[in-house]
């Protein structure tokens, strides 16, 4: 019975510059005939002749007893496991060319796995079901990957020499499209997961002014990551990959153009809608100016001039910085301390 084995390889999209391909080999139950690996360990040692210590094996010579011959079946002694005979510089890719369960006598590593006996060590690898149950990646050593790459190289094109740094790649190819395709041997070659398309682009590479950027952020919501400045659009609503790709590009275009448009109702933006706290025109400014006027710091004068003069003072600027920092960054010990120092200076304590 042949169980289908599953491989999936990530292919590159058109716009994307080809980076190293990533191969994920997922294991199912593997029984690959014809490659010389059988379920049982092949005992390749040819024991020379019959063992001289035959007293256990045979109860006397067969010619002795006459008709009643108890000929015990000759039991071959198990030879050394293959690990003893492996040279150190062997080609490991020949031992494990494909995904195979764990074979203790073919793997020269003293590996132990399982629950340790009290006061002792975990069980050894010989006859260890735990090691057989889990997937292993012994077929994907660096040497094996190298061979895979060499085999794939005839199908690849040369990497453009001008794109040697990440920054240059971002500059010339700002939009990155990520897709996955699946290969499997089974009744159908189609895989519905192959239709998903991820489109990522850095907002700094788009031409957006301040208002457009804020509107874009409000439109996309969760799809934007603030730390890396990357907008990711995932399209999976169409049945085909090409349709999803077209839809993702359409979404990007529409977002860009919509965020540049200014509607009439956007003028009604309130303080609660603002993304960041701005001190000018806030209650904090009113309060501090009010206090300073009552403390008669500026001396007598007209309303506007006094305000301008007070706003220009260094302590007031420091106070403004500390309040802005407190509101935008959230509060912790350092912001609180800075705010305290600024208030003390402004109120002259």
């Amino acid at each position: 019975m042949v169980c289908p084995s599953l491989f999936s390889i990530v292919t590159v999209g058109e716009n994307m510059a080809a980076h190293t391909s990533r191969a994920f080999l997922s294991l199912g139950r593997i029984n690959v005939p014809g490659l010389g690996l059988h379920k049982s360990v092949s005992r390749v040692t040819y024991s020379t002749g019959l063992s001289t210590d035959s007293s256990k094996a045979t109860t006397g010579s067969p010619q002795k007893g006459g008709k009643k011959v108890l000929s015990k079946k000759y039991k071959r002694e198990p030879g050394d496991p293959r690990t003893e005979l492996m040279p150190v510089d062997q080609d490991w890719t020949a031992v494990y060319p494909v995904a195979t369960p764990f074979i203790p006598d073919a793997i020269p590593l003293p590996v132990r796995m399982g629950c340790p006996v009290k006061g002792g060590a975990p069980p050894e690898k010989k006859g260890n079901l735990e090691l057989i149950k889990i997937p292993n990646f012994l077929h994907l050593t660096p040497a094996a990957i190298k061979k895979h790459c060499e085999a794939l190289k005839p199908f690849c094109t040369e990497w453009p020499s001008a794109l040697d740094t990440d920054a240059k790649c971002d500059e010339h190819f700002p939009i990155k499209v990520e897709t996955k395709s699946y290969v499997s041997a089974g009744p159908s070659i189609r895989n519905p997961a192959a239709r998903i398309v991820h489109l990522s682009v850095k907002l700094s590479s788009l031409n957006l002014n301040d208002q457009a950027r804020k509107k874009m952020l409000k439109l996309v919501g969760d799809r934007y990551c603030k730390d890396t400045d990357i907008l990711t659009i995932t399209a999976d609503r169409c049945p085909l990959k090409q349709q999803n790709y077209d839809y993702a590009m359409y979404l990007l275009t529409v977002l860009y153009h919509e965020s540049w448009k200014i509607e009439a109702w956007e003028a009604e933006k309130t303080v609660a809608d603002m993304e960041e706290y701005s001190w000018e025109g806030s209650l904090s400014q009113e309060n501090i100016l009010d206090v300073l006027v009552r403390m008669k710091e500026a001396g007598e004068g007209e309303g506007e001039e006094v305000r301008e003069q007070l706003l220009g003072r260094r302590e007031v600027q420091e106070y403004k910085d500390s309040v802005t920092r407190l509101k935008n960054e959230g509060e912790n010990e350092s912001t609180m301390l800075q705010y305290k120092e600024a208030v003390k200076k402004v109120l002259k304590l």
Binding site: I288, V323, E333, K340
Partner: protein, 371 residues
């Protein structure tokens, strides 16, 4: 037996962590040299200044030890030194104590209040503003303003305690306005504050409005050249004023704190548009409603509205005990024989106390009760 008693008394006298004080040497006790040391409040002061201000467990401790000892800590001294330098003509400065649960905010507030009392200030102490926004047994619509609600029980209790604390001032301060309570009752202009307060205590229905009138009078009169008193407003749990309340109206909608007369008038006092005093406040999460157990920073407890109303204020952090303060507290408990087991007198025992309490004052006090 007598030698043992002599030995005990020697320990009592030699204990480094205690400073005894009379009201004269009280001022001498308030400097950086005395960080970590305990000073004793005279029992007369405790009865007058703190009829309702001290934390419950501290009151039990005072009763057990037969004395009220407070530790001198940096946050309190910072505010006290600022208070010494306050200028009567400048607007009132707002101080806010914040810190983890059980780190000593209420005790620091009480220390500051005691200082103000010894300096002859008029202390307006609201021991727990949270009590005014929850568990209200009687809610009456206000006669003065129909959109607001009165809380007669809380108001009368507060007036009683206010009277105990500020006896000397009640006969000196005169009202500047005439207050009409009902068709037959009114308080004339020029009557003493004591009469106003008595009116509130006897006529329970008008007590909330009396509280409002008292606050208004004090606010207008402090800092004026002809008044010779300075006003210290002390509020514990100030975040209750801008939070939510659990009180419900007859139609089961929640009451906004602003609709409560007491809270409305207290908010007016919190603004710094009056001179000649100081506003000292504390944040409190214990007793707060609809707040997370772990929040302790000013902005998260006060909320946007509260922060904008209190701004600009001086936030003073009250941390857990430092090593020196912990030592001092440990020695005090040993001196009062509060630590009973011999294991707690060893080094290992002390390390265990540090580990269990993380030097948090209230935790340490609770744990020492079992050791």
């Amino acid at each position: 037996v007598s030698s043992r008693r002599l030995w005990l008394r020697m320990i009592h006298v030699c204990s480094r962590s205690r400073l005894c004080s009379l009201s004269v040497s009280f001022q001498a006790c308030q400097s950086e040299k005395h960080f970590g040391q305990y000073y004793t409040l005279p029992s007369a002061h405790v009865r007058t200044v703190f009829p309702h201000g001290l934390p419950m467990r501290y009151k039990q401790q005072v009763k057990t030890f037969n004395e009220a000892c407070m530790m001198v800590r940096p946050p309190a001294l910072e505010v006290i030194s600022s208070l010494k330098k306050t200028d009567n003509s400048k607007p009132a400065v707002r101080y806010l104590f914040y810190g983890l649960k059980g780190s000593g905010k209420t005790m620091t507030l009480c220390h500051t209040i005691h200082f103000c009392y010894t300096q002859g200030w008029l202390v307006l102490h609201v021991p727990d503003a949270h009590l005014w926004v929850k568990n209200c047994k009687e809610l009456l619509p206000s006669s003065f303003n129909s959109s607001r609600y009165d809380q007669p029980l809380q108001a009368t209790e507060w007036l009683r305690n206010f009277r105990i604390t500020n006896e000397p001032f009640l006969s000196k301060i005169k009202t500047k306005q005439r207050y009409v309570w009902t068709k037959r009752e009114s308080t004339e202009e020029g009557s003493t504050l004591g009469e106003l307060v008595d009116q509130g205590i006897t006529r329970v229905k008008t007590s909330s409005d009396v509280v409002g009138a008292v606050m208004k009078e004090l606010r207008l009169q402090s800092g004026q050249p002809e008044s010779d008193f300075r006003l210290a407003v002390a509020v514990d749990g100030v975040n209750a004023l801008w939070g939510r309340s659990t009180i419900r109206k007859m139609n089961n909608t929640a009451v906004d704190p602003e609709e409560l007369t007491l809270v409305y008038n207290l908010r007016k006092l919190m603004k710094n548009d009056w001179t000649g005093g100081a506003i000292i406040t504390t944040l409190a999460q214990t007793g707060a409603v609809y707040t997370s157990k772990y929040s302790y920073l000013p902005k998260e407890l006060l909320g946007e509205k509260g922060f904008d109303s209190m701004d600009p204020f001086i936030p003073v952090s009250v941390p857990n005990y430092s090593e020196k303060e912990f030592e001092s507290c440990y020695l005090y408990y040993m001196d009062r024989h509060w630590l009973q087991y011999p294991h707690s007198r060893t080094e290992d025992g002390k390390k265990e106390l540090i580990f269990l309490s993380n030097r948090n004052p209230s935790m340490l006090e609770r744990i020492c009760g079992f050791h």
